[in-house]
C-alpha cells in the first residue's frame, strides 16, 4: 500500500508539473486559439488563469486539439 500511495503522489506531482508548463503556453498562446475574448486582455487576467490551467490542462489540451 505504501508503494501505491507513493506512486500516486508522484503521478500527481508529474501531472502538476506538466500542467505548469502547459499553463505558461496556454495563457500566452493557447487560450487565444479557443476564445476570441482573450484578445487584448490585461496581463493580470492572464495570470489568474494559470492555477486553473495547471489543474485542468488535459481538458483544455483536448479542446485546443479538437479546434
Amino acid at each position: 500500500m505504501i508503494e501505491l500511495i507513493s506512486l500516486t503522489i508522484d503521478a500527481f506531482f508529474i501531472y502538476l508539473g506538466i500542467g505548469l508548463l502547459f499553463s505558461i503556453w496556454f495563457v500566452l498562446v493557447g487560450a487565444k486559439k479557443i476564445d476570441n475574448g482573450m484578445e487584448d486582455t490585461p496581463f493580470h487576467f492572464k495570470l489568474i488563469l494559470i492555477p486553473g490551467s495547471v489543474l485542468m490542462w488535459p481538458v483544455m489540451l483536448i479542446k485546443i486539439l479538437k479546434k
Partner: protein, 343 residues
C-alpha cells in the same frame, strides 16, 4: 456578461461585499485568538493559527451551502448570494492557509516529501479512531482548489456548462470529506461532546434547508394546463412590484415580472450559470439575475448591448385581475409586447 475578459467586473455592491468579507474574517480571527488564548492558555501560536483558519473555512463553507436555499425562502438573503463566487474563493484561501500551515507544521520536519508524509505517516486506514484524517482534508482542499481556480466566466465558457457545473457540484463531496476530517480529527484530540454537537447541527442545517427548499420547489413546479391554450398563472396581486412570480409551463420554469405597470414573462434560466432569474428583480429597467447580476430586458429577454445573452419569452394576457400565460415559448430574444395592468 463581459465581451472581453477582465479579472473582476467591479461595481459598488461587489466592493461592499468584499469589504464585508474582509471585516468578517478579521473579526472572527481576532475573537478566536482572544477566546482560544483565554480558554487554552497553553496552546501555541501555530495551533491557534491552524485551528482558526480551519474553523473559519468550515463556517464559511456552511454559509456558502445555505445561502442558496435561504435566498429561495426569503429574498433578503439575496444580498449574500449576489457575490457568492468571491465568498467561495475567500473560503478556499482560508482552507488553503489551514492546510498549508498544517502540512508545514506537522509534515515538513522529516526527509519525506511533506505531501507523501500526509498520506504515509499514519497508515491506520482500517481504524476509525486512529484514521489518518488529514488525508481527507487534503483531498477536500484539492476539490476546493479546482473550484476556486475555475471560478471565472472564462472557465465556464471554455470548460462548457456540463463540466463546469459538475466540477462545482463537487462542493458536496468536499463538504462530506471535511465533515469526516473534522469528526475523525476530533476523535483523536477532543474529549468534549460540544464539537460533535456543533458539527451535527451544522450538517442538519445544511441538509434540512436543502431538503425543505427542494420539496417546496417540487410542489411549485406542478405544471399548469395542457400546454396548448393559455393557462391561468397567478393573480396580479401575487406579484410584487419589480419582482416575479415563477410558474411551471411546458416543463420549463417561467418568471412573470411586474414592473412600471406592465407584465412580461421570460424563461427563468439565466444563460450565465443557470441562476434563477425569477428570484432576481428589475434594476434599471432590466431583469437582474440574483447570482451574478447578468441582465435581460423583460420585453424581449435580451441582454442590453453590447452583451449577447438571451432567453425565451412568453405571451401573457390579463383577464380581470388574473394573469394567463401561453405555454408555448417564443424563440430566445423575441420581442413580446408587455401586458399593461389596469390601475
Amino acid at each position: 456578461m463581459s465581451v472581453s475578459y477582465t479579472s473582476i467586473l467591479w461595481n459598488k455592491q461587489k466592493k461592499t461585499y468584499d469589504i464585508g468579507i474582509i471585516i468578517g474574517v478579521l473579526s472572527f480571527t481576532l475573537i478566536f485568538f482572544i477566546g482560544h488564548t483565554v480558554l487554552h492558555p497553553d496552546a501555541t501560536f501555530e495551533t491557534i493559527f491552524i485551528r482558526n483558519f480551519g474553523l473559519l473555512a468550515f463556517v464559511m463553507l456552511h454559509i456558502i451551502l445555505i445561502i442558496g436555499p435561504l435566498a429561495r425562502l426569503n429574498t433578503k438573503y439575496l444580498i449574500i448570494l449576489y457575490n457568492r463566487r468571491h465568498f467561495g474563493v475567500s473560503m478556499f484561501i482560508m482552507a488553503a492557509i489551514h492546510g498549508i500551515f498544517s502540512i508545514l507544521n506537522f509534515h515538513s520536519l522529516s526527509n519525506t516529501n511533506p505531501i507523501k508524509s500526509v498520506f504515509l505517516s499514519n497508515l491506520k486506514y482500517d481504524s476509525i479512531i486512529q484514521f489518518p484524517f488529514q488525508t481527507l482534508g487534503f483531498l477536500a482542499l484539492i476539490i476546493l482548489a479546482l473550484m476556486a481556480t475555475t471560478s471565472h466566466d472564462f472557465w465556464l465558457k471554455n470548460l462548457g456548462p456540463k463540466i463546469w457545473k459538475g466540477l462545482h457540484m463537487m462542493v458536496y463531496l468536499a463538504y462530506a470529506l471535511i465533515i469526516a476530517h473534522v469528526v475523525l480529527g476530533a476523535l483523536q484530540n477532543e474529549t468534549s461532546p460540544i464539537l460533535y454537537g456543533v458539527v451535527f447541527m451544522g450538517f442538519l442545517l445544511v441538509a434540512g434547508l436543502h431538503i425543505y427548499t427542494g420539496m417546496k420547489e417540487i410542489r411549485a413546479d406542478k405544471p399548469l394546463g395542457n400546454d396548448i391554450d393559455f393557462v391561468f398563472a397567478c393573480k396580479v396581486a401575487d406579484i410584487k412590484e419589480n419582482r416575479a412570480k415563477m410558474v411551471m409551463v411546458s416543463g420549463e420554469r417561467v418568471a412573470i415580472f411586474k414592473y412600471e405597470g406592465k407584465l412580461s414573462a421570460v424563461n427563468n434560466f439565466c444563460r450565465h450559470q443557470g441562476g434563477p432569474l425569477g428570484e432576481g428583480k428589475i434594476v434599471d429597467g432590466c431583469i437582474t439575475c440574483p447570482w451574478h447580476g447578468y441582465q435581460y430586458r423583460p420585453e424581449d429577454g435580451q441582454s442590453p448591448p453590447p452583451f449577447t445573452e438571451k432567453v425565451e419569452t412568453y405571451q401573457l394576457k390579463l383577464e380581470n385581475e388574473e394573469v394567463w400565460i401561453n405555454p408555448q415559448p417564443f424563440p430566445e430574444g423575441t420581442h413580446v409586447e408587455p401586458v399593461k395592468i389596469n390601475q
